[in-house]
């Protein structure tokens, strides 16, 4: 018996990879994703069926991918299909339906108070297991069973004596800059602190600091693991990476009023992680040196064992 895990590379794949021990504990797993540096590194040694990463609403492409996955269903005995999206989930759902295999869709943790476009479509498909990652978002169509933010606990830590190493990350693939955050941090971080500035498309050339637009995921993980302090925009991937590496990040939501984002996703997620105590949340232009010092007094522990759930 084989379990199929389907997710587009990036945040969707990161989340499904984190949830795997809880939903597909067996060793016989086949992944379906697109080939990127992240997916290649994350799924090294795993069986992978590659699909193209198609643009939104590429419905002909969805059908082509459906035919590809039908071939996989014929070759092996798939027992259950799980997906965290995005559009790739539609092809997998169609194939699962064709071969009468249970299909469970877990909405992305990025969607705190709403459904994605894929989720909205699947909302109308009968016989699909539908799950949200926040209990208050559940209703008669969508159940809550698990979340990528479960299993973390914050404990006190003793800050080191040396000037700290700080990682500032605003998401390497972001379409918008986050200059307010970079400029504020530049004004409050002491000169003798060591900082890795990962600034995306932010235009901060006038600050005279060494920045990097984007880092490979593996390199960024290494840097975060070795850091004393992580300051991040309120992106799901950035927050989860910090938490999984034992860091309680300072999280700063992008704001539409400042042209830093197109909607309030980041504000929703920032509010959630703050109310759970998993992060300190601040507005970009309100961060102080005291906030940075305070944040160093905590670290994050992950639960030693994952509790399996039946979807």
């Amino acid at each position: 018996m084989t379990e199929m895990l389907v997710a587009t590379s990036g945040g969707h794949l990161t989340q499904l990879h984190m949830l795997r021990p809880r939903i597909a504990s067996g060793t016989d797993v086949v992944w379906v994703t697109d080939a990127t540096a992240q997916s290649t590194s994350l799924l090294a040694g795993e069986r992978v069926i590659p699909l193209p990463n198609r643009p939104p609403r590429a419905y002909l492409g969805v059908l082509r991918d459906y035919l590809t996955l039908c071939g996989a269903f014929r070759r092996e005995r798939i027992e259950h299909v799980y997906s965290t999206g995005a559009q790739m989930a539609l092809s997998a759902m169609l194939a699962a339906k064709t071969f009468r295999v249970p299909f469970s869709y877990i909405e992305s943790g990025t969607r705190v108070s709403e459904l994605s476009a894929t989720g909205r479509l699947l909302d109308h498909v009968p016989g699909v297991g539908r799950y949200v990652q926040y209990p208050f978002a559940a209703n008669h169509h969508w159940k809550f069973a698990l979340s990528v933010f479960e299993g973390f606990s914050v404990v006190p830590a003793v800050p080191g004596q040396d000037p700290p190493r700080v990682i500032v990350t605003v998401g390497g693939n972001a379409h918008y800059g986050f200059e307010r955050l970079i400029r504020q941090l530049h004004s409050v971080i002491p000169a003798d602190w060591s900082v890795l500035w990962q600034v995306g498309p932010s235009d901060v050339g006038d600050l005279g600091i060494q920045t990097v637009k984007s880092l490979p995921a593996a390199r960024l993980r290494d840097e975060i693991a070795a850091a004393d302090l992580v300051i991040s925009h309120a992106g799901t991937g950035s927050i989860l990476t910090a938490l999984s590496l034992g860091k309680r990040p300072i999280v700063v939501p992008r704001r539409t009023a400042h042209g830093e984002h197109i909607d309030g996703h980041q504000n929703d997620l920032a509010s959630y992680v703050a109310s759970e105590g998993l992060a300190m949340v601040r507005e970009a232009d309100a961060i102080t040196l005291e906030d940075l010092q305070e944040s160093r007094r905590y670290r994050v522990l992950a639960a030693p064992e994952s509790v399996p759930v039946q979807l």
């Binding site: 705190v112 108070s113 709403e114 459904l115 909205r120 926040y134 209990p135 208050f136 978002a137 209703n139 939501p253 704001r255 539409t256 009023a257 909607d263 309030g264 504000n267 929703d268 920032a270 509010s271 959630y272 703050a274 109310s275 759970e276 105590g277 300190m280 949340v281 601040r282 507005e283 309100a286």
Partner: protein, 349 residues
């Protein structure tokens, strides 16, 4: 930017929320149009801003609103709560509108199911026009999404009114007090609070209800041994809250209550009834019935690790609800509402 706040019921939590919004965005030109509501005044309307009070009926209230919008041409009309929200059907399509439900009517638990469906249908129809929703909890944002997924939803949490340094304040009382703040009304479910107090009569705890309201329910509370203080001035309320050992919130439906975040920011641990909005705000919840809530209260006083967890989670909720976050979110809501209309950029003040 010029914002006209509109509420049919100016009092209680809505008045507090509007006062916070005005304080939080001081470079916005705010004005207020309301009908008066008796006996619920809490914080004063900040001076220096225009406040027109309408004394007539509902029809006249909306007629005057339309005239006022034509005269003053605000960049944004901010409608507070369900009755004022009806104006979404009347205001011209080009007018930027932000709607704050302050708890959707279909969350009520004191009316029959057909009435709830009628409320939901009305909200669904009113959600068809272009607008932005300012939600006071993630639950409210979720409901807004279900009404119309195209409507921008911005989470504008009611802020903690006190700095977290108040949390260090030493307690003045020797008796453990369990408090609840609010109007004695079906929404706050005083009967449930009284039942919890009755279930704990053999315990050395003092139950206190800060607020006033319907006489029959007040008598029920007093019969259960609950001290009912009546309405108090904000500073006295803060003192009484700060002296409490536990805040027990019995509300049957809520948007994002101010009193609980007040308590949490004073360092008073909060246990809430398990309703979706309180859960979405991150409060520790202990069930929906008197037995479950009494068990939660008992556990708080007998299980140190549980008490620590309740205290930690309450502090986290207060930490999430900062005034800076509220101000930034509100500006996002106004900006998105303006962008949703064809009126273009806001005028410089």
């Amino acid at each position: 930017m010029r914002v006209l706040h509109v509420t049919e019921a100016f009092g209680g939590g809505i008045q507090s929320a509007i006062a916070n919004y005005v304080d939080g965005l001081d470079d916005v030109d705010h004005s207020l149009y309301s009908r008066a509501r008796d006996a619920q005044s809490t914080w004063a309307w900040p001076g220096g801003s225009g406040h027109e009070v309408y004394a007539g009926g509902l029809v006249g209230f909306f007629v005057r609103l339309l005239a006022k919008v034509r005269e003053e041409k605000p960049d944004v009309v901010h409608l507070h709560s369900s009755f004022a929200g009806l104006a979404r059907a009347l205001l011209p399509p080009g007018q930027a509108v932000v709607y704050s439900p302050h708890c959707y009517a279909m969350e009520r638990r004191d009316v029959r199911v057909p009435v709830l469906w009628a409320f939901a249908l009305a909200e669904f129809l009113l959600a068809r026009r272009r607008q932005s929703t300012a939600a006071v909890s993630l639950r409210e944002a979720t409901l807004s999404w279900r009404l119309n997924w195209r409507t921008p939803r911005i989470l504008v949490l009611n802020p903690a009114p006190f700095g977290m340094d108040h949390a260090q304040r030493p307690r003045d009382t020797g008796t453990d007090e369990i408090v609840m703040v609010g109007r004695i009304s079906p929404q706050k479910d005083p009967h449930l609070f009284a039942e919890v107090a009755r279930a704990c009569t053999d315990r050395p705890w003092h139950f206190v209800w800060i607020g006033d309201g319907e006489a029959e329910d007040r008598a029920d509370l007093e019969d259960a041994g609950v001290e009912v203080t009546g309405w108090t001035q904000p500073d006295l309320l803060a003192e009484r809250l700060a002296d409490a050992t536990l805040y027990l919130h019995s509300g049957a439906w809520e948007g994002g209550p101010v009193s609980t975040v007040e308590a949490a920011s004073l360092g008073v641990p909060v246990i809430a009834r398990d309703i979706p909005s309180m859960r979405s705000l991150g409060y520790p919840v202990a069930g929906d019935g008197p037995g479950q809530l009494a068990a939660g209260v008992t556990r708080f006083f007998t299980d140190r690790s549980y008490a620590d967890d309740v205290a930690r989670r309450s502090v986290s909720v207060a930490s999430a609800a900062t005034r800076a976050s509220m101000s930034a979110s509100l500006l996002d809501a106004y900006t998105s509402a303006i962008e949703r209309t064809s009126r273009g950029r806001p005028r410089a003040r």
